[in-house]
């Protein structure tokens, strides 16, 4: 919260930042340090636990033949899904943002909504349709349909804010439409595509629920097995270190590919808005494609829920408890969304305005937890809090912190792009007009990055509302959320009773999903008015 409040420490922090030769703003540094500490907490837990079993045992665990299988399974799934998500995400975003698609506002929301459906509901929906569904292809299909919005969102936003002048220049230099798209447009949106792919990759590394359902064995599935059936924390943590290595490779890869070309257009210079392309004869196939995507990604899980609500005898009218559970879900998710958005501000500010090895490292670190199973993060917090902060243990605050660690990358992605657009020149002008740094922050920077903060809030909110494993470990005793109740009923085969909880979860997530897509389009429209 402190980052937003114009309190004295911020003022002095910023004053110092200004007063020195490239001195760092204290508040950002403090915020970045807190974020880094939170992220390092579960990592420290992993290393301590893995060490407990001794490096010999770790070696034995990691050099087993089955680890090679797991590695291959994990890598081939991650590659296939990431590529497919990139293709679907870019394609869908292009159709919505650059063509005269009928009902595009509707599509803009519908294409984001799959994010709001928890993995276990997706898996549940698919298995309801085809119980025999299992293995590699099933895993690739289900995860692609669940995760493509992580590419769609940043790419749609980048396309909406793109300067069409370059594309036109390319056409005038003799490139065909497809060549111009590939050589110019794709180049321009490539940071957004890569950022989205990174999120997809990390989410895949940590995924468990859906793979358990389709019986596809990845590292994370093996980690859960070690935990759940073997009660072998050390082995599970040793295996988790492999996930850390894989995600470090992904993070480094994205950084290398994206390079330094992250700077966004700053200042109000003139910008050409691309005219929408009439689809003409392509209308039907494009609509059919998007409908198929929406139908598979949204229709299957939602259909399964409706089926069970109608079919199951345990279906009851939603009681007061469902409202209480919804209330708790909203409360915790909103708390996590605020906290991680607030933490993402200094992390992004440092990485953009004070780019150096340390700040980039902090920003990269913030992505790591997303690749770790929620169970590992949660157990790390359990181990920490029972020893050093027992008062926090199983408190709402601890759960909120856990969500914030898990979903910090989503917040960073949202805030970073907005931060890149908020030019420091504007802050300087604000100060020369007699406003103190805190006032400038409130009256200039905050409104400028507000759309990014909104997107960050919404993404974290949705992900927190649908999180299950960490929730089961850390929720306050006696308090239920929609996810825990859904889980409790499905584990008793009371699908009819469980379905309304999942439906409400999707409904709650739909609001932020709608807000994200609205924000994007209004932002773009504001500029289009020119």
């Amino acid at each position: 919260m402190s980052t937003f409040a114009p309190t004295a420490p911020i003022a002095s922090g910023w004053t110092r930042a200004w007063s020195g030769r490239r001195r760092w703003p204290l508040v950002s540094v403090a915020g970045g340090a807190i974020a880094a500490a939170l992220v390092l907490l579960p990592l420290a837990f992993l290393i301590i636990q893995a060490q407990r079993s001794g490096w010999g045992e770790v070696q034995r665990l990691l050099l087993r033949h089955s680890v090679a299988v797991l590695l291959w399974n994990t890598v081939r799934l991650t590659l296939a899904c990431t590529v497919l998500c990139a293709v679907l995400g870019v394609g869908a975003a292009w159709c919505v943002e650059r063509t005269a698609l009928p009902a595009r506002r509707l599509w803009a929301v519908a294409l984001v909504l799959p994010l709001g459906i928890p993995d276990f509901v997706v898996g549940f929906g698919w298995v309801s349709i085809d119980p025999g569904l299992h293995g590699y292809l099933a895993a690739v299909m289900i995860m692609t349909l669940a995760l493509y919005p992580l590419v769609y969102l940043p790419v749609a936003s980048a396309l909406a804010n793109l300067d069409a002048g370059l594309e036109e220049a390319a056409r005038s230099l003799g490139l065909g439409p497809w060549q111009a798209f590939r050589k110019v447009t794709l180049r321009q949106i490539s940071p957004a595509v890569l950022g989205g792919c990174l999120l997809v990759t990390l989410a895949l590394l940590a995924e468990y629920g859906a793979f358990e359902i389709v019986q596809y064995r990845t590292f994370t599935v093996e980690i859960f097995t070690e935990f759940k059936l073997g009660f072998d924390t050390a082995a599970a943590c040793a295996l988790s270190l492999v996930l850390v290595l894989l995600s470090v490779a992904a993070l480094g890869g994205e950084l290398a590919l994206a390079g330094r070309g992250r700077a966004w257009r700053a200042g109000p210079g003139a910008r050409r808005i691309a005219p929408r392309i009439a689809l003409g004869r392509l209308s039907a196939p494009v609509l059919a494609g998007l409908s198929a995507l929406g139908g598979l990604a949204l229709g299957v899980p939602l259909g399964a829920l409706v089926y069970w609500m109608l079919r199951g005898s345990s279906t009851t009218l939603p009681s007061a408890s469902i409202l209480a559970a919804a209330g708790h879900t909203a409360e915790y998710s909103a708390g996590a969304a605020v906290l991680s958005t607030v933490l993402a501000v200094p992390v992004s500010a440092l990485a953009i305005r004070h780019r150096n090895r340390v700040t980039v490292l902090i920003e990269r670190l913030a992505y790591l937890p997303m690749a770790l199973p929620g169970l590992v993060i949660a157990l790390g917090l359990v181990a920490f809090s029972v020893r050093y902060a027992f008062a926090l243990y199983q408190s709402a605050l601890e759960l909120i912190v856990a969500y914030s660690i898990l979903f910090l990358p989503l917040a960073v992605v949202g805030v970073r792009s907005a931060m890149g657009q908020a030019s420091p020149r504007l802050e300087e002008v604000g100060r020369s007009l007699g406003c103190r740094p805190a006032t400038v922050w409130r009256r200039v920077t905050l409104p400028l990055i507000a759309p990014g903060l909104g997107a960050a809030f919404a993404l974290v909110f949705i992900s927190s509302a649908t999180e299950l494993t960490a929730t089961l470990l850390l929720h306050p005793t006696g308090v239920n959320t929609l996810a825990t109740q859904f889980w409790a009923y499905t584990s008793e085969l009371s699908y009819g009773a469980a379905a309304p909880y999942a439906a409400l979860m999707v409904a709650i997530s739909a609001i932020p999903a709608y807000v994200i897509s609205r924000r994007m389009t209004t932002l773009a429209r504001g500029e289009r008015a020119r």
């Binding site: 097995t225 199983q394 005793t477 499905t490 008793e492 085969l493 699908y495």
Partner: protein
């Protein structure tokens, strides 16, 4: 006879504890214990309500998947807020016992149920039981075709017909049982055969649902999954039936749900009172009348109507304690790539 006496004493034990805690308790109406519940949530809720009414002790219930809760207790160690851990299966209790996290259960509580269903070391008590069984799709399999032993399911004639959930905590006891009764080599051969014949499902809920749908002809489950599915779908929705293996077959297993008090508990008396209540007549009746469809273990309490009487089950001669923490079974599954 002796056991009977002890068992019949348990209500008094509860009453005594109630009295003691009432005297020493706060003005808030008695002490509070925290229950980590891995069991059927609604049944536990009914038990807790009855217990609170009877004793005035407040129970905070934290429900979750038993394996997750077990891991949580391992991490919490000395500082665990849990007083009682109530689980669906015993391997997780055994795992905690091996790490010295459980407190001894007083003999009267242990004596309320047949001792073969208790921890050999007296650190957890058996509360209710499930029988492993075979669910079969009645339109695909005639009763005459049903196997008398679980071992037959590994034969080629069952190819493509068997559904099972190898990652469920109910599955490892079956492997352990075969290892103990027929040797590790047979167990491995059986598992390989099953792997070749079977369809893998994520959990038993899915197994029973898919056999009922006809996706698989037969499925390895515990009996109550079938009853719970029947409760959800109604008798009209059931296309399947239950089959029990021949008496003494390694597949004919009784899986026990148990409860234990944690050594770290600072409300041990109240926690032990809860364990005593679970195996008391009142507690066992509550289980029998709940929708969990489990067998109460206390002699003289009959199960929900429609269930095959507990006495008619002739399970393999293995105690839950002998089934251990399932690590051997797990290793075998991992070796064959089932996990």
């Amino acid at each position: 006879m002796h056991r009977r006496t002890l068992a019949s004493l348990s209500p008094f034990l509860i009453a005594a504890v109630t009295l003691l805690t009432a005297c020493g308790g706060s003005s808030h109406g008695g002490p509070t214990i925290t229950l980590y519940n891995g069991q059927h949530e609604q049944t536990t809720a009914a038990l807790v309500t009855a217990f609170e009414k009877q004793t005035g002790i407040t129970v905070h219930v934290r429900s979750g998947d038993e394996a997750t809760l077990g891991n949580q207790i391992l991490q919490e160690g000395e500082s665990s807020p849990a007083d009682v851990f109530y689980t669906e299966n015993t391997p997780v209790l055994e795992a905690l016992r091996e790490r010295g996290l459980l407190a001894p259960v007083p003999p009267p509580t242990l004596a309320a149920v047949p001792s073969r269903y208790d921890s050999a070391q007296g650190e957890w008590v058996g509360v209710s039981a499930r029988a492993s069984a075979l669910v079969y799709n009645a339109s695909q399999i005639k009763p005459s075709q049903l196997p008398s032993s679980i071992l037959e399911l590994a034969e080629p004639k069952w190819k493509g017909k068997v559904g099972f959930a190898p990652s469920e905590t109910d599955f490892q006891p079956l492997i352990t049982s075969i290892v103990k009764l027929d040797g590790a080599a047979t167990a491995e051969r059986w598992l390989k055969g099953l792997q070749a014949n079977g369809k893998l499902y994520p959990d038993n809920e899915t197994v029973v649902a898919q056999v009922n749908n006809g996706e698989s002809a037969v499925g390895l489950i515990n009996h109550y999954y079938w009853y719970r599915l029947r409760a959800e779908l109604g008798q009209g929705g059931m296309r399947s039936a239950l089959h029990y293996y021949a008496p003494g077959d390694p597949g004919d297993l009784v899986n026990v749900s148990g409860a234990a008090v944690l050594k770290s508990s600072s409300h041990r008396a109240a926690a032990q009172a809860f364990l005593a209540f679970l195996v008391s007549r009142a507690g066992q009746e509550t289980i029998a009348h709940s929708h969990s469809y489990e067998y109460p273990l206390r002699p003289g309490v009959s199960p929900a109507s429609g269930l095959r009487p507990f006495a008619q089950l002739k399970p393999a001669p293995l105690t839950p304690a002998e089934l251990g923490d399932g690590s051997e079974a797990l290793a075998l599954e991992q070796k064959l790539g089932l996990l």
